[in-house]
Subunit: 253 residues, 8 copies
Amino acid sequence: MHPTRLHALLTKVARRQISVAGAVAALKRLPFENLEFVKVDHHRHLRQGFPEVVFGEGKSQAQIVAISRTLWRQSGTALITRVGAPAVRALRTAGLPVRYHTRARCAVVSRHRPPAPAGRVAVLTAGTADIPVAEEAAVAAAWMGARVEKIYDVGVAGIHRLLVHYSRLSRARCAIVAAGMEGALPSVVGGLVPCPVIAVPTSVGYGVAWRGLTALAAMLSTCSPNVLTVNIDNGFSAGLCAGLINRLGARLP
Amino acid sequence: MHPTRLHALLTKVARRQISVAGAVAALKRLPFENLEFVKVDHHRHLRQGFPEVVFGEGKSQAQIVAISRTLWRQSGTALITRVGAPAVRALRTAGLPVRYHTRARCAVVSRHRPPAPAGRVAVLTAGTADIPVAEEAAVAAAWMGARVEKIYDVGVAGIHRLLVHYSRLSRARCAIVAAGMEGALPSVVGGLVPCPVIAVPTSVGYGVAWRGLTALAAMLSTCSPNVLTVNIDNGFSAGLCAGLINRLGARLP
Amino acid sequence: MHPTRLHALLTKVARRQISVAGAVAALKRLPFENLEFVKVDHHRHLRQGFPEVVFGEGKSQAQIVAISRTLWRQSGTALITRVGAPAVRALRTAGLPVRYHTRARCAVVSRHRPPAPAGRVAVLTAGTADIPVAEEAAVAAAWMGARVEKIYDVGVAGIHRLLVHYSRLSRARCAIVAAGMEGALPSVVGGLVPCPVIAVPTSVGYGVAWRGLTALAAMLSTCSPNVLTVNIDNGFSAGLCAGLINRLGARLP
Amino acid sequence: MHPTRLHALLTKVARRQISVAGAVAALKRLPFENLEFVKVDHHRHLRQGFPEVVFGEGKSQAQIVAISRTLWRQSGTALITRVGAPAVRALRTAGLPVRYHTRARCAVVSRHRPPAPAGRVAVLTAGTADIPVAEEAAVAAAWMGARVEKIYDVGVAGIHRLLVHYSRLSRARCAIVAAGMEGALPSVVGGLVPCPVIAVPTSVGYGVAWRGLTALAAMLSTCSPNVLTVNIDNGFSAGLCAGLINRLGARLP
Amino acid sequence: MHPTRLHALLTKVARRQISVAGAVAALKRLPFENLEFVKVDHHRHLRQGFPEVVFGEGKSQAQIVAISRTLWRQSGTALITRVGAPAVRALRTAGLPVRYHTRARCAVVSRHRPPAPAGRVAVLTAGTADIPVAEEAAVAAAWMGARVEKIYDVGVAGIHRLLVHYSRLSRARCAIVAAGMEGALPSVVGGLVPCPVIAVPTSVGYGVAWRGLTALAAMLSTCSPNVLTVNIDNGFSAGLCAGLINRLGARLP
Amino acid sequence: MHPTRLHALLTKVARRQISVAGAVAALKRLPFENLEFVKVDHHRHLRQGFPEVVFGEGKSQAQIVAISRTLWRQSGTALITRVGAPAVRALRTAGLPVRYHTRARCAVVSRHRPPAPAGRVAVLTAGTADIPVAEEAAVAAAWMGARVEKIYDVGVAGIHRLLVHYSRLSRARCAIVAAGMEGALPSVVGGLVPCPVIAVPTSVGYGVAWRGLTALAAMLSTCSPNVLTVNIDNGFSAGLCAGLINRLGARLP
Amino acid sequence: MHPTRLHALLTKVARRQISVAGAVAALKRLPFENLEFVKVDHHRHLRQGFPEVVFGEGKSQAQIVAISRTLWRQSGTALITRVGAPAVRALRTAGLPVRYHTRARCAVVSRHRPPAPAGRVAVLTAGTADIPVAEEAAVAAAWMGARVEKIYDVGVAGIHRLLVHYSRLSRARCAIVAAGMEGALPSVVGGLVPCPVIAVPTSVGYGVAWRGLTALAAMLSTCSPNVLTVNIDNGFSAGLCAGLINRLGARLP
Amino acid sequence: MHPTRLHALLTKVARRQISVAGAVAALKRLPFENLEFVKVDHHRHLRQGFPEVVFGEGKSQAQIVAISRTLWRQSGTALITRVGAPAVRALRTAGLPVRYHTRARCAVVSRHRPPAPAGRVAVLTAGTADIPVAEEAAVAAAWMGARVEKIYDVGVAGIHRLLVHYSRLSRARCAIVAAGMEGALPSVVGGLVPCPVIAVPTSVGYGVAWRGLTALAAMLSTCSPNVLTVNIDNGFSAGLCAGLINRLGARLP
């Protein structure tokens, strides 16, 4: 129901041109339509606590600029993932204040410096080839207000490389672990830390690594019960969720 | 928003205790909650034109009796699929007027004779092993008011068996074709008839028939553009949809 | 059996040079051959109520022009799907009256304006990336005579975006829903409308979206019984079938 | 390195029978062995903040009793998942104080009442067949100290059933959503709530539901970025992780 | 078109009540219907040179008896595959002259001794577990008139076991090779013989033998170009085809 | 055992320098080595009745020329499959007498005209996109001495297109059927003809056509028992086997 | 070539009834047949250094007894895998000297005590459910003469449990690692030891553990280059290969 | 625990500023941190007996140069796999002493000639297209000190080609067999030799060769118990493991 129609109906009630029971009946009949006036995007930010994010892949530069500007005006910030340097130049040309994270292929639009981060999120990778995915996660977590600790290239073939970081790991409120190939690192990390671990399978590997499917299935089949998983190469969701989890702890005085 | 609260708000508007703009704002703030008073089940029947159907598999006899009775009281009829003889006896013991379709493993609860069917739906099978699935489809289509023409065991290995039924086929408003193994029959039927064909892959076959997956993939890959597909062994959905399609034509005087 | 031979046989009957029983026997012996004289393409149009459609992918411009011209001459119209701008220019150069639908990548050859559309078909998409597939469906449905209502970018992550279109949805005789990724939208739409829903999985997504397979399997596994499915990215079949379904209702005075 | 050996070495240092540099060298040479004295189980509880959990499936009653008793003595509590009534009777016969959650098939061993729960975790299901998995999640979350809000049978085919619970949903620190078949519910819930959503695919469905794989792939391919996923039917991990997340918020005064 | 109608039409032609051109037109209009009078089963035997075969699996004893009797009366012989001893007893009770091949689980109904076999078909297996499938093939080939040479348990792990049979192999007109696990034997046989090789993957094996799929895919990927393949465990088709191939050579004086 | 060694041993026997029993023992000890002197390529031709064939894909022009020349010199003919125009030019430059079949992408090296073909092999396709694969089969069958009858574009969506060719079909000793998408044509042809049918799945199609896998699985799951299958797009093996089968019948006077 | 024929030929040579060149030619002509006299089973033991092993699954007790007796008589020992207690009783009844390894489900037939083992093979498991597979490997390795060190239940979720065994691990000539679920343990072990690691995926786990496939694919995708893999649950091959590898080192004085 | 901290603690013990029991307690508390001082790379070489190897694919030339130089300085040698000519030129420009193996696409950095090889490793291929993978294995095995015997193009379609190499095969301590398509060769080789066989599936083939998966599954399902498998195209691991196995035998005086 469009607000104008709603307004008209209520005016009739006020003028006693329609009974209260009749107005209730009218409103009852249309269970869904009365959502028509929702300010779509603004409402989403209020409802969920974070604005929409732009998935850059497959979008034209013009589309990226248009959507980013709208989100930035509404929310004061916009995050664009999977975006290349040319689209970032287009954002700058359009006058938007952009910081570009090259390895993460993410752009953040914001005039203001982010507030000081609170709470630690650890981001680990098994190998160097997993770093781009981990960086996407790191940018997203930082954008959500977390302080990110990066621990890269600590795969299970040299387990002592991981163990030396034990104390840093144990301070995190959430750990993100990006790994391809056999995807074993999240299980090991899960057995070490007292917090939730978000496993991100990457498409690194060949043969029966099946472009990340083996890592994904391994992470889901983990023997560590505190491991949660996202889609292959989906660093962004991992970072956003780690940010949400970190925020819970961040409410502390 | 509960009706009492809605009533109270509207009363305030009527009494001018709250301005129209204020009431609009109050209603805006809660975009979802105002659905709370929907009469759930009754509303569904009104909204979709057919009542809920009971999927019998994995439900206890007590559950089947309870849900069927409720639906029957609301809608005057209830359809239970994938139901065995013992549960049907339980329905009878509970005093419900049941007709049981053995091969289809479906039960229809209704006191009244169904109205005379209108419009034709053809139901075909490739082999005899596909008949139980086809029967489920036939019961559902008939329950939706269609007159069902059964043409069974007309698989493509003896294509003349199908061709002799050409004139019966061409009178149907919708054709349902159940086939397992290579699932080729819907393509052939699709090339013969002027109406939509609903293909139902069955789990008949062995080896790389892959319990119906090959038939399903073949049906989806068909070269006949008027073929639509449902899940493996899902005769019910095929029958219901054929009934919906037939009903459109049935509005004719 | 070629008509000349048939003619000769019947002449013999007329001249009593062969008995009736002998002629029956002669005709019985060749169960299949007597189809030889069927006017292949023209017969198809009569048999099915819609002419053949040209699948442009993988065909040369010369092939597309030749086939389209033949179909157009026979049927007065031709639809070419998955066709690029160069082939469309070749059609124009060849003197065919073409309208090109860029987003749908479809061309319609026809000298005449289509008759006024009758009956509504709703075409929905979950995201913006699904629009090309939806447009193909829309062109096909319109070509079959339907009036198309487009409701795009109403994916389930913001369910209120869909709900505001409830009344438009409920007027359709058939709804087409294109969605990639998790493919959840057809289930939700299926629960809202009283008509058949044709679900079109799209290859949008990455990782275990498996180029549309996850959406396809989700649509086939739907809990809404009025959902039918076509192959991944097969907007054309969805549109054609929606057109066939709509036509049933369109027979109304 | 066993503590006795360590003690001997340090005694030598104290007696100056070995130089400090020599002792450093001795310790350096054996990077892994010096873990030998770790009190395995007790250390794990300290390290991770939750004790080991017994996966009952495939274990004999004697094994279940033995392991449960050990864990209970060490940690004051033990959780056994996927355990049937006979093993529970064996636990009781062995004198352990057990509460058995029938639908969840989980047993909790503890003499003390759990402390009052703090923080809300919502547990939702799409259908009734998903409830056993959801109950396992609920038991685990409650065991971790959370207050559990159950919202069952709110699948997307009747989306209004979910929307009426909007306000309850929005109070949760974490939502768990169990769904089989097309697995669409977590995407819809993810779009409504401001907290992380843990999706649990269930093996409910047939045909291309592929015993939960379709639901799993759909959940991983979700368009809602705040959704995390666990293995098929793994209610326990979902509950434990929700408990960990809830605990972060629970540190509030 | 039913013969009576055809007769009536031709009578009209004979009586000059209808012109020859009019009769041609009448016959043209119904391209498919004129098959209606085909004697279905008898025609098949004439058309293909072998009668229908009964697939016993999933059929009741009554069904098996009924179909077998009909086929036997029409063709003088009937082959029933995948049939157990109880159904064979039922066939005997019904008075049918049955020979039962226990290992092959096949029954042959015939009063007469088969004619002396002509031409050799070799049937090989890789292991002993493949023998039941090979026996089904052997029965079918013999039923088609071939002389069968059995060479069992000659898998590639002991290649000399195969090589000693080289001269027997080289006399065959067609070789059937049943193998499970890695399915390598058909490739080796294909490289030795000058005739077509029909590979039959069996469901023997475990793990990634994937119930015969690995053997099937290996056989289809063979580096020996004279290998043809049938479905997993489909000994019958292999035997029938070998029989057809052997028959070509058997036409020799 | 190298011939020189063999010669020396036999000389010793002739000179009575070693007893017969001793020579038998010496030969027994080395079961495999005595193959060392086999003239590899020439032996193969004698053993199998057809020379090796060159698979051109992935080979350099130099390799193709060298292998083809060797085979041609040994056998008087060479067949090269999957070969492009540039390699064919290189063969000509090298002085080899080549005929190139463009659509089949096959080259035949031979100075002599092939002998008059004997026996018919039918080659069918479902669509026009399957023709290149069918042409490869046709070239191979012709190279093996068969007379090839091509029946193209007779897919099951217009089944009458196939039926008009019934009499041509029934004269063939072997039928090859190439089809992509749902791969239904071999089943229909199998039901019509009295000879073996070799089904060739092609990678034509999209979505769940799975690059030919659906067609392959459908062909293997066929309800027509006289259908044999080769790998996806493997026209060559189909043609070679059809040639072998045809040759059996060709021994007729 | 049968020895008698060989003997006759050589006699002719001795008697100068045939020239040496003629005898060479005669032997050349039959490249394969001359293997006919190989003593099949005995030869295998000599050729490979280990006798055949009986795979008990699917064999009758009579078959197991017969084959085991033959092998035992030839080789002095027989190993039967996947064998249950009843068959073992049958072996004993038949008078064979059997030792039965219950957890491994393996039986060893031998009158003599095995010689003292030499060289160490480590056998590890991730969990307790993997132990039966590991025991099968241990029995096979011991049967091949190795000294087996068992290190069970040291999965990666508690990595310190593994590390305490570092010195035992580093003494092994070969390590066997059995793991189900995510199959991560072989990678970790591979990174610690200087010897080859044989990974044995087990079918332990549920959901996307896919009955061992995930563990298998993870092991094949390992980042540790010294890991080799066998089929799911194939403890026997792992043990036999470890025995072969160990034997190489065992040649040391 | 960093060495400085360890030194300080021990100094306190030496000075009796802390009791021995107190020092033990301090060391116990930090089970993992005391690994911090491990010299990572050097330690690995000592621990495993072979240095790290550089996987060249996806690394920049700068990265390859930097890592190779470091490894070369530490270990005196470096092996780079999957590396192209340009990166090799960059290594040379940087002053590293490189030998490049073109077919293997491997580079070895070393100033010294390798010591004389000891022990034989046989490397076989089924076809010529498998040679690049086999060459990678050969380079790795040679780098590990083995003498490599290459036996190429001995696929099972011409089994005598393999058998002539029997005596060479039987001298090897380990055999590596690279094969694509149906992957049958390792089974045959496994049945001939007394040593472990490492099977390397290659991505050679088309259709259901599935880019090496069929060969892999066939190798894992082998009926020869002495076959071990690595990932598709992973020649390097096969060579390294063969080198490790060969080294065990090489310890002989």
